[in-house]
């Protein structure tokens, strides 16, 4: 796979420039924007998915505090979630593990809690302002995940589609 924006192709000067630009274009500040070395270090020491979920602080928006998952998957939600994915997510997220603009979705339901995903989709500005994991992704991808005005119901359907993509029955 040919990534569109492989970070390895960026010199550290360029990376710093781009981080500055990213900071300049956003209306809040966060600490800990790292150099290339730091980014690589954190990549090497990545926790396992279950560790990651366990470590994840409980940051959520005012509305979404819990998400109930049921098995088997609701197939009509899987289909609706796929339609939303194709219109609003596909341009940046592959269904494999490969990163395009944002991370590939394979395994995302194992790495992130449903509440985290729902908030990242529906309340991305809050997440980028407060959530460390979301901030790490911005440092990695350098493009703020856009607010695509996905409703909570649509986001819930997208989770069902993600679970289906991750092989859940």
């Amino acid at each position: 796979m040919k990534s569109l924006h492989p970070p390895s192709s960026l010199s550290s000067t360029n990376l710093r420039l781009l981080v500055s630009l990213a900071l300049a274009t956003i209306s809040f500040s966060f600490t800990g924007c790292g150099s290339k070395e730091e980014a690589e270090k954190s990549a090497k020491e990545s926790p396992t998915p279950s560790e990651l979920v366990a470590q994840q602080p409980k940051i959520h928006g005012p509305e979404i505090k819990s998400v109930e998952l049921t098995t088997p998957l609701k197939q009509e939600w899987v289909a609706a979630g796929k339609a939303t994915y194709e219109m609003k997510c596909l341009a940046c997220h592959k269904l494999t593990g490969d990163r395009l603009v944002g991370p590939g979705w394979s395994g995302v339901t194992k790495r992130r809690t449903p509440v985290w995903i729902m908030n990242m989709v529906t309340n991305v500005d809050m997440m980028l302002a407060q959530d460390e994991e979301a901030q790490k992704l911005l440092e990695l991808c350098l493009v703020r995940m856009p607010n695509m005005n996905v409703t909570q119901d649509e986001a819930r359907q997208v989770i069902e589609f993600m679970r289906s993509n991750d092989g859940e029955p």
Partner: protein
Amino acid sequence: MNKRILLLLAGAIALSGSGFLTGCKPKQLIAPVQSGVAEKVYVAPGKYDEFYNIVSGGFSGGVAVYGLPSGRLFRQIPVFAQNPESGYGYSEETKPMLNTSYGPQVWDDQHHVGLSTTKGEHDGRWIFANSNNTPRIARISFETFRTEEIIEIPNSSGNHSSPFLTENTEYAVAGTRFAYPLDDEGSNPDLALTGENFRNSFKSVVSMIAIEPTTGRLSIGFQVLLPGIGIDLARAGKLKSHDWIFFSCYNSEQAHTLLEVNASQKDKDFIVALNWKKCEEYVKAGKGRKSHNRYAHNVWDEATHSATSTIETETIILDPTELTDIVYLMPCPKSPHGCDTDPTGSYIVGSGKLAAIIPVFSFDKMLKAIADKDLEGQFCGIPVLKYTSVLHGEVKKPGLGPLHTEFDGKGFAYTSFFVTSEIVKWNIETLQVVDRQPTFYSVGHMTIPGGAKIKPHGKYAIAYNKITKDRYLPTGPELTQSAQLFDISGDKMKLLLDFPTVGEPHYAEAIPAGLVTPKSKKFYRIEANHHPYVTKSEKDARVVRDGNVVHVYMTAIRSHLAPDNIEGVKLGDEVYFHVTNLEQDWDVPHGFAVKSSGNAELLIMPGETATLKYVPTRVGIAPFYCTDFCSALHQEMQGYLRVSPANSDVALKYGIGDTASP
């Protein structure tokens, strides 16, 4: 600087300020700015202004939006002129907006704005704008700040007295400043330019453009045939005078050459009083005659993000020499320009450009004179009421060159004076001058927020000066236009601020921000995009050949265009880039441009689709890219189009990332 010097300085400033108040001459070159004005116009970073100021752009062909009291420029809305910055008039979707029965017009002269009202008060729905050169009226949405509709006015030229609105936005008016033979029965006739032909065949038709109350859709309600008299400005009645609209005119001499001299011969021209309600009744009763002409009606459809242009072919004309109770003339000294009705609808202020008085007409007296048949005579078959019978009174020695009058709702009128370069405040009932302040220099129009409505918001007056000279850092022979903000909350006007403006502002209206801000659109819902060439998912991005026409269905999202590698286009092809901005968030437009396209850029709002036509002229690679700095990887938002020779057999091919050639 120590405290003592500061105190001394403050004292000196206060002294000089009070000096101006008591005895300054208007010829003073330094504005009499008083201390403490800065905080009155300072809008702190991140804070909003109190008013939107909607300002005509004159020869820029568009409308500009400023904040008050800061004077900050927020936006230029393209209306009657092409705008390469936004692609307006260049994109396939917007080209029809500039169509007329004469073909596309790339430029016009935008003079006046009218903000929609319900029961005489601002309702924050639409902005109406006129074009003077090729007569048209436009409707602009307050939700999108975009031009949604333009209607051409046949049988007219020099559409200056426009688009002034009736009290309930029933009509916008269009008049004829450059008297003109009718386009009746197909076209404008081939007439020799003689005085006789002018008097017989040149007319000043007034058109009432009907506005559909819920959609704002425009249509030509009816036209009224007036003799060739140079209809100049207009203002509708209010409350008791709701059924009437008043116009000024400046060439009752009916001169067709050297108007500067020949149209300035008579002591008095006219204020034309038109009873539009009565006209409606006559139209309904079939008393009008049909005029067969051609005019374009251009409508923007927000669902398809596209405009259509239709040529219409008929208007209804009423003749006041046959329908004798629809138009009356009131004599008005000399070559009146402004024609303004006060908030109560009781008074009509006519401002004779060459007069040394301001005549104020009484609506009640006008009705009485009409009932009593109190006439001076007739002009070209239209009754002329007796001046002294319709006059409320004259403002004596107000200044030289009165042009326009606005109102503060507290019983005072504010008139601009071009020749003596000042704003003069006077009492409407007593006709006494109570204050005057110099402007820098030669004020034309002026605005008080809501100053033309039944309940003015008051607080400020803005002078739109015609001459700038030394007010700003010089920029060669061509200077920015100069507006000036006055505080009118007290008895005396106080100059607060100079601010530069774009184009040449004529009339402007200011509206409280709270009536507009809540409904401002943030983006277009991609689900509701019904553009025929929309691409709603990047997986559907593609290139389709249809003969020598190539359609590129392209998507844009931070930070890539898809497809970004295109091959198989040949010389002789016409390429249409239909770019859909997939973003669904506020303030994330993407731009699009192709090297050497000979065309403008596209500026595509979130959820919108826009189309750029590109006809390659050389074999080779044509890079394209996003022109609006959208993200940290904006620079990477680029792609390549390969143009091959006409006879080549390069197959159509496109892709991005994995789907591009390795």
